[in-house]
Amino acid sequence: MKVKAKRRKLSLNLNPEPEPSIKEEVLSMRTNYRTNTGVRFEMLSQDQLQELVDGVLHLLEYTGLDVYHDEGREILKDAGAWVDGLRVRLPSYLVRRSLDLAPRSFTIWARDGNPEHDIHIGPGRAHFGPGPTCPNFIDVETLERRPYVKADVPVVAKTVDGLPNIDFCESLGTVNDVHHELGALYEFAGMFPNTSKPIVAWSYDRFDSAGIHEIAVSEAGGQGAFERRPNYVHYCEPLSPLVSTFEAIDKLIFAARHRVPLIFTPCPIAGGTAPVTAAGIITQGAAESWMGLTLAQAIQPGLPFFMGGVYSVMDMSSMILAYGAPELSLMMAGLTELAHFAGLPLWQTGGCTDSKTFDEQAIIEGSLSAYLSALTGGDLTHDVGYTESAMTGSVFQLAAMDESIGYSRRITRGIEVNEDTLAVDAIHNVGPNGHYLREEHTRRHYRTEFWYPKLCDRRNYEEWEMMGKTSFKERTVARVRDILATQQPSPIKPETEAVIQKALSEAEERVKE
């Protein structure tokens, strides 16, 4: 049972004990032994998933979408789509072929070559990060809600860089104190130097996209190098129900032509801009994503493509899109299973809340949705750190969710069963009424078997009292401030710094005209 290799007995004894033969080792091997790693979550059956796929294909073939982009419609038509005015319908073979072309597994690379910051997209891997474009931000010093400004971007990026369970970066806000068309570019320019975790970039239009791309390509070492090791993902958002807007398609075309991994993610609201039923919103939203998929694969076969979204209910009394509703997690779980069934990675949603403040509601809603996202294996789970139904970004919610995600990841990592972990030898050594603290087995495993909280407090009352009787919120605030004071993201290349300055000044010139 010991992991140590058995030493062969060799002796000059003329009457030796028989040596253990190789056959014995073979006999102890397992046959047809199935292992499950991690907690498995499964909601819909294969039959149900096939029915959903058929529904999406039917919708795309018989109803279609309005595509507000001349060139986009041309490309789709050339690929085999049926175009009638704005309306584009997709024969199901074309969609199936596009699904085949898009990869299920690929890597988004850290800009600085740090392998711990690479994101490997593939089955059984969930990743987390903030979301974009909240108008407001919780000020790190005053803890008050106020408009999001340019100076907040590095704050968010540095916090992301320092939180172990946050894997990619978005800004948690729309920059309010620059020209209203340049917010996205300033955001990217502020995030890129302040974290080497991959960035998911949105933009207003293709000019923004071009500026962003120039910065990323400079750091990668040219377009060719970028294509081999893409260091950011481009985010586009079509409109529900069933509209591919000009901007969404224009940016998609830019990203596809430059081989930037792409997220095409609608934000349908059940009962408002989508059917009230979970299956209905999934069908419609998937159709909206797959129109983008088909166009992207027609331009750039094999382009990494995330279908997505934020799928939730319209609260029928407040009329908001609920970011803390159980239906969000439920719909996202169904959508994740559909995406994986169809062979695509998913842009998931979790760690967000409708609460206006850092309170119990924020933690319940955020933690439960983050846990569900982890269970479903949502490939990139965004909106971690959203509060007030996406109206206010909070690095404190983000840091609290880092704890919840770590907690969730320990659960999804599951139980390892083998001769060593069964610990029969250790149990024998310790015997009745002994203890395991001195066992080599304990020393070997305790760091990896147990999860160590960063914010949850397990001290006894006296120590907790001695440490100032802090609340979870106080510890979260302290951790964020500590990260901001100490985190040193790896620097970008000096030439990229110059490219950023050039991109910003060119953009300022452009909006002057």
Binding site: H435, L437, R443, Y452, N460, Y461, E463
Partner: protein, 213 residues
């Protein structure tokens, strides 16, 4: 010279008994006094272990490894320490009180106290008040520690303290209590000198007692 102290301290922090013993031997060979090796090397290393443990940078299994290393080093130094009349920092007598078969809490305190340089006399579990009294007479400890895991057995702590009083030994020892159902208020009520909420708090208490004496 201080390089040796630093290396011994590091070996303690790394929880490496062989290395600690070897370095202690080397220190003695180089003409350093056992007391200096203890105070400037081992105790400094163990102190750092305590600091890191409290900060959440080290964990119980590692602290125990460091305690093991401390023991190994003390094993090398002990003959000379005794020869030169140097006292270890103090003697702690530990037991789980009558009716209670739980051992691990007490053992943890023992190990950590040993690591801090105390001499430990362990009278085991299910120890009745008379056993405590006899052991105090025999071993002359500075500190008596009592442990209970059960609400039903914690009362035995009060009886034990009473027995120590009746034997006329109460003012010769400091008494500390601990264990899952015990708290500071209970400790005060039964006339103990202190309460430790966990193993390291127990060590801190013992250190407080002997330095105040």
């Amino acid at each position: 010279m201080s390089r040796v102290y630093e290396r011994i301290g590091t070996a303690i922090m790394e929880g490496d008994p062989e290395k600690t013993a070897k370095l202690a031997e080397r220190g003695l060979k180089q003409g350093l006094s056992a007391k200096d090796i203890l105070d400037n090397g081992m105790v400094v290393g163990m102190g750092e272990v305590g600091v890191r443990f409290k900060a959440g940078d080290m964990f119980v299994p590692e602290v125990l490894m460091s305690a093991d290393a401390m023991q190994a080093g003390l094993g090398v130094l002990r003959p000379e320490l005794l020869a030169s009349g140097v006292q270890l920092i103090g003697k702690v007598l530990m037991g789980t009180v009558k009716g209670d078969l739980h051992d691990i809490g007490k053992n943890l305190v023992n190990m950590m106290c040993e690591g801090a340089g105390f001499d430990i006399v362990d009278i085991g579990f299910n120890a009745d008040p008379e056993k405590f009294v006899e052991a105090i007479k025999e071993h002359q400890p500075d500190v008596v520690g009592m442990s209970a895991m059960l609400t039903t057995t914690m009362r035995a702590m009060a009886y034990t303290i009473k027995a120590i009083e009746e034997a006329g030994l109460r003012d010769r020892v400091k008494i500390m209590v601990g264990g899952a159902p015990v708290d500071a208020a209970f400790a005060e009520r039964i006339g103990a000198d202190g309460y430790g909420s966990n193993a390291t708090a127990g060590v801190d208490l013992a250190q407080e007692f002997v330095s105040a004496a």
